[in-house]
């Protein structure tokens, strides 16, 4: 019998190439050697396997085997389930993968690879900015999965295809589905039913922003969790989120189309967008007209805010002896239309903080309005009260856009009332940074919505100023009364820092200038009629340019009716109630 020791090189990790070549030669010459080799390698595998569970703790081999066991068992699960449970095969296959992606099956994650089948009930996750994957269904339906996206419960049963988008983005090209078996795409905020179309779904990490559905081709029915539904047609989008009206809107708004055609540093007006078209009817509301009437919305020291959630410029103003209507107006940027968000109190109380209906009375709002993005509310404090003085208007109010209701906050302390206030919301601190225009309460204050508390930080004077937050550096930058100054509002105690600047005199000397921060270009841009002024926060240098096509400004200031719109990468300006809305592309 052959001495097995003569096959030593076979199981010797240090065997040389020559020794193994000699073994190969021996196998060719001696057919019986194959049996010996097979038995030896068989027992070698068995010995390694027998030793495996008792491997020394901490040895690399041991850990790797545990990892392998879990991974391979998970792959087996993926393999087994479709085989046993779904004779029709897997739900979908991975067509391509980029970056880090895993198939989720129960509590186990298996690295995704091209060609791998996805079993019913499985999920899929991409991680990292560059990650992406494409899944293909047997009927040709394809899912493009964007970065940082989590899908759950992929399936195809008697009711049709289904998946749950927990977060992130997918683009689905859905081939025609049987009418009784639409593809169902669920998100935390709603459900989309698809019979055949191309769509994009985005679940925003911010729960307030909800789910956005863009439809490129065909029609998709979207339902929100409040039971409202809308059919979204090709070229339109809709947002399902708590407190957001479920509406189909054009994907490329007229405003965006206009901006795309505009050269840099140019003005354009949006035709037919004078706010007077939606003004409360004076015949129906004769008691709110005051001495000037509706034009006070823009003429009487009043401002506005950008509702970044809905992309609307919201105006509130009037007050003094000029206009006593307390209604809110909003320019809806995607649809380029004006909306009257609330009706005025028909019989307003004069020189009072609130009317008989408990809502705040009309007032000149100056630059004192802010949009609290994290709670989706309008903020207002102080101003010039309808039919009265500034001193009496010292209450803090918020307006909930979702429920269309005002709340009188009644914080334990407040900065008092007064003209010429200004406010800016900082998304990082989630506070309103508020500058008082009334000397007895002068100073930089901050308002914390959750705590419903005001804090006084300094005793500086802000009368007639406008402010904006440098989102990159975390500074509140204030302009007006001929000066520029800033506060570091994110680190330590805010202290006034005067900015010695030159070249901005044409803006700084005007009352209530428009002033906002453009994060895309890292510039503050101000306008108060005439030239547009840009302030570089790094060099603290102004640059101004007279740009043709600018609208006529009004004499009492622009305040918050000049805002940067990120989706347009342009500024919006509302100057007068009878003038069209204007856009400035920097």
């Amino acid at each position: 019998m052959t001495d097995p020791a003569s096959f030593g090189p076979l199981l010797d990790p240090d065997a040389s190439e020559e020794e193994l070549r000699a073994l190969e030669e021996r196998l060719r010459r001696d057919p019986a050697a194959a049996d010996t080799v097979a038995r030896l390698i068989y027992i070698d595998g068995l010995l390694w396997e027998e030793a495996r569970p008792k491997a020394v703790p901490g040895r690399r081999r041991s850990r790797r085997w545990i990892a392998l066991g879990a991974a391979a068992a998970a792959v087996l699960l993926l393999l087994w389930l479709p085989w046993r449970l779904f004779s029709g095969g897997p739900v979908a296959r991975i067509e391509s993968v980029r970056g880090t992606s895993v198939v989720l099956t129960g509590a186990v994650e298996v690295p995704a690879a091209t060609g791998v089948a996805i079993a019913s009930g499985s999920g899929f996750r991409t991680s990292g900015a560059g990650s992406a994957a494409t899944l293909a269904f047997p009927d040709g339906t394809r899912l493009e999965i964007g970065p940082d996206t989590t899908l759950e419960d992929l399936g195809d049963d008697g009711a049709g295809k289904r998946l749950r988008l927990k977060r992130g983005t997918i683009r689905a090209a859905v081939t025609p589905q049987p009418p009784e078996r639409p593809m169902r795409l669920a998100t935390p905020h709603g459900d989309a039913r698809v019979l055949g179309t191309i769509l994009r779904l985005l679940v925003d990490p911010d729960p307030l922003k909800g789910t956005r559905l863009d439809v490129e081709e065909g029609k998709v029915r979207l339902e929100n969790r409040q039971g409202q539904g809308v059919v979204v047609a090709s070229g339109h989008f809709a947002v399902a989120a708590a407190g957001v009206e479920l509406l189909a809107r054009p994907l490329r708004s007229a405003a965006l189309a206009l901006v795309e055609k505009m050269p840099s540093r140019s003005w354009a007006q949006i035709p037919g967008t004078a706010v007077r078209a939606v003004a409360a009817d004076p015949a129906r509301y004769p008691k709110i007209q005051g001495g000037v009437g509706f034009s006070s919305l823009t003429e009487s020291w009043s401002g506005g805010v950008l509702d970044t959630r809905r992309e609307r410029l919201v105006l509130w103003g009037g007050g003094h002896s000029n206009y006593w209507g307390n209604e809110l107006y909003a320019f809806d940027i995607p649809t380029t239309t004006w909306l009257r968000l609330t009706e005025p109190t028909p019989d307003p109380a004069l020189d009072q903080e609130a009317g008989p209906d408990g809502r705040p009375t009309s007032r000149s709002t100056y630059s004192g309005l802010a949009y609290l993005a994290h709670v989706d509310r309008l903020f207002s404090h102080a101003g010039g009260l309808a039919g009265g003085s500034a001193g009496k208007v010292d209450q803090t109010w918020t307006f909930d856009f979702a429920t269309s209701t005002w709340s009188r906050r009644n914080p334990p302390t407040n900065p008092g009332g007064g003209f010429g206030c200004n406010a800016s919301y900082d998304p990082a601190t989630r506070k309103v940074w508020w500058g008082s225009g009334r000397l007895s309460f002068a100073g930089l204050w901050s308002y914390d919505y959750e705590a419903n508390a005001w804090t006084r930080h300094t005793q500086d004077n802000f009368s007639g100023c406008t402010s904006a937050v440098d989102l990159k550096r975390g500074f509140l930058v204030v302009v007006g009364n001929g000066e520029v100054f800033s506060y570091d509002i994110r680190r330590g105690t805010p202290r006034k820092e005067a900015w010695p600047t030159a070249g901005g005199e044409g803006l700084l000397g005007k009352p209530g200038p428009g002033f906002d921060y453009d994060p895309d270009r890292d510039r503050f841009v101000g306008w108060a009629g005439g030239a547009v002024f840009e302030l570089d926060p790094e060099t603290k240098a102004w640059r101004s340019q007279d740009v043709p096509g600018a609208p006529a400004s009004n004499r009492n200031g622009l305040y918050g009716r000049w805002r940067y719109v990120p989706s347009l990468k342009a500024f919006i300006a509302v100057t007068q109630v009878d003038a069209n809305v204007h856009l400035y592309k920097p």
């Binding site: 057919p31 068989y42 595998g45 068992a73 087994w80």
Partner: protein
């Protein structure tokens, strides 16, 4: 029928639904893992081949017929994976020999023999290891269980390298013979019936 098969099928022969990862881990995994260890030899490389085998199986699952031999299908994939990675697996020159068609053919027969008995081959091996002398058993365990290299082994035993290599080969052969005999014995017992 092997223990592994018994767990895959219900008494009546109807396919059993998997109840989770535990069931799956003890069904096909050990058998394919042993197979990869046999043809590759080096445990870490065998792990890579095993992992790739299951991924490949997943990718090409649509081509597998449910009434086919799943184990043979997986082993075929493992062979192809190992062959494709031959150049990369420099440490495991054994592939030069283990992928020889006649060796693979015989190995396939040995694996199929496993399926004729109702005891796991690992259990049979344990029984055979128990029949070795303490010194021989320690030698085998030092090599496989503790991963000790041969040179270190020899130093500990005050023996030459060639002695250790020869002794280990003979012990493997003896164990292979013992496991083979045990398999045949168990298969005969199974055939006898009530």
């Amino acid at each position: 029928m092997s223990e592994e098969r018994a767990q895959r099928e219900e008494p009546g022969g109807a396919p059993a639904l998997p109840s989770g990862l535990e069931v799956l881990s003890v069904t096909w995994m050990p058998s394919i893992r042993r197979y990869c260890l046999s043809i590759v030899g080096e445990p870490e490389d065998a792990q890579d081949v095993l992992q790739e085998t299951f991924l490949e199986a997943q990718r090409s699952f649509a081509r597998f017929k449910p009434d086919g031999d799943f184990g043979a299908w997986l082993r075929g994939i493992a062979r192809n994976v190992a062959a494709r990675r031959r150049e990369k697996l420099r440490r495991t020159r054994r592939l030069q020999v283990s992928l020889e068609p006649r060796v693979l053919e015989r190995l396939e027969e040995l694996v199929r023999e496993e399926e004729t008995v109702d005891e796991s081959p690992v259990t049979l091996l344990k029984r055979c290891l128990g029949k070795l002398s303490d010194g021989d058993r320690d030698l085998v365990r030092a090599r496989y269980e503790h991963g000790t290299d041969l040179e270190t082994l020899c130093k500990g035993l005050s023996r030459s390298l060639s002695w250790a290599k020869t002794r280990l080969m003979r012990l493997r052969w003896a164990l292979a013979d013992c496991v083979g005999r045990e398999m045949k014995r168990r298969a005969r017992m199974g055939d006898a019936g009530p």
